[in-house]
Amino acid sequence: MASCTATVPNLNTSGDSLYGPRICWQAFIDWAWDAFDFDKDDWDQGFGYYSVCDNTRPLSRTLSGIWCLTYSSPHFPRESYNSNILEWGCRFARNAIDELDARCGGGGSIAYTQWGPFTNDLTELYIPYWYGQGVSLRAGTLVHEARHADGKGHNAGNNDSSWAYNGAWRWQVCWLAWFAFEGQHTTTAMKTQARQRANNIINNNFTTHPGFNV
């Protein structure tokens, strides 16, 4: 067990002033808690279990990411795999992620997923996930980790070898790009950050550059 401290950044510019009140809805909390398999023991001790609507706490900030992942498509509640990832991203993530845990972390990582036979499949979120990125980027990270939970690791160190590999980086890029293009109920800042982050990933995380930006 580790103890950690975190400084709460500006709530407007992280998107938590906008999304925080949205998750303060018991029906949504009931659903998300079950769909992403949260457990009380992983989210108490200051992580927000006892104050789920406190948008300075990790649980609220995680639920904001899930809210963004769930409701940003203009076609909600349709979740067809025949459409783009903004539409089906939440469907995929809630089915792929086995459990979602809060941890202090270390070494600066944002999130971590382990999977495989004889492994306790899980996804852990760390301090920089909640306090180092805005709401739309948190949603994108969930898509990335869900792709790992689905059994697809990276095949070139921390990178994917190519766009054709169809790995976690491509999925994250696609979700961010579609969010920037047609995301609903959001802000100029969230959309612009999503587009820029998508391009940063395209430009840094493929061994063979895909040759385009969005």
């Binding site: 067990m1 103890s3 950690c4 975190a6 400084t7 709460v8 950044p9 500006n10 407007n12 510019t13 002033s17 906008l18 925080g20 009140p21 018991q26 029906a27 009931d30 808690w33 949260f38 023991d41 992983d42 108490d44 279990y49 006892y50 104050s51 789920v52 609507c53 406190d54 948008n55 706490r57 979740e79 795999y81 089906w88 941890r103 202090c104 070494g107 990582s109 944002i110 999130a111 760390y126 301090i127 180092g132 990125q133 805005g134 990270t141 990335h144 921390n158 579609w178 109920h185 802000t187 100029t188 800042a189 950050q193 820029q196 391009n199 940063n200 430009n203 385009f212 930006n213 969005v214």
Partner: protein
């Protein structure tokens, strides 16, 4: 037994001058939803343009904010770009060219430890600084040299590509090519594609598992309650 977390709430920012107050309004509008927020942002940015100390104050906000407050730093650069003060070009260049923190020590991601880290937030802030520099250079020809200087500075690849894109948008492709290493000239050929060409292959069909039903179904016994308000409170 799980980890425990203690939060530090910084002191509220003191809005010392009318410019600080306007910047605070711009932050709120830029991060608000809908047409009203968009109009409010536009008006606030117009008012900021009339204040001589606006760009300088915003740059100070960006530089004095805690490193981990990525959103605040990013928004400050965004607004600097909209104000378009030519005096901001050199500080934006320096921000974009500044060294990135080292990669995390966790090693390989996915199977072992995380793929993303705080360095990615720093890349995002510098990306915004490049876009802001481009917007300043669109208004002031004398600022264009800083875009080319950034290419010469050979920053991290993601930042270099943003600088190359900015140069191209400003009609400076030839000058950019001269400054790029031979191995990097492919960056000038990066296409801007419509989002319809950016698709993930889901590798599953619609008859695959739908999963838990949407919100509104069932009442769980072991979930946190939504009864408290959104003001911060302590949890130990």
């Amino acid at each position: 037994m799980t980890d425990s977390l203690e939060l530090v709430h910084p002191d509220p920012v003191v809005l010392k001058t009318p410019t600080h107050w306007l910047i605070d309004q711009a932050f709120a509008a830029l991060n608000g939803e809908g047409e009203r927020a968009a109009v409010a942002y536009k008006h606030t940015a117009e008012l900021l343009k009339t204040r001589k100390d606006a760009a300088e104050t915003l740059l100070r906000v960006a530089q004095s904010s805690p490193a981990e407050d990525i959103g605040r730093r990013w928004c400050a650069y965004y607004i600097v770009g909209d104000i378009g003060d030519k005096a901001a070009a050199e500080p934006l260049y320096r921000a974009a060219a500044s060294a990135l923190p080292e990669h995390g020590k966790d090693g390989k991601c996915g199977e072992t430890r995380g793929c993303e880290g705080p360095r990615d937030g720093e890349v995002l802030v510098r990306t915004m600084a490049v876009e802001a520099l481009q917007r300043v250079a669109e208004r002031h020809e004398e600022a264009r040299g800083y875009v080319l200087e950034l290419i010469t500075a050979q920053p991290d690849r993601a930042i270099l590509i943003e600088a190359v894109k900015a140069a191209r948008a400003l009609g400076l492709s030839e000058e950019a090519a001269k400054r790029l290493n031979k191995d990097d000239r492919w960056m000038l050929d990066i296409k801007m594609v419509p989002v319809q060409e950016v698709m993930a292959e889901p590798e599953r069909a619609d008859d695959s598992v739908l999963g838990h039903m949407p919100p509104g179904r069932g009442v769980k016994q072991d979930v946190p309650a939504a009864e408290c308000c959104c003001t911060p409170n302590r949890e130990g």
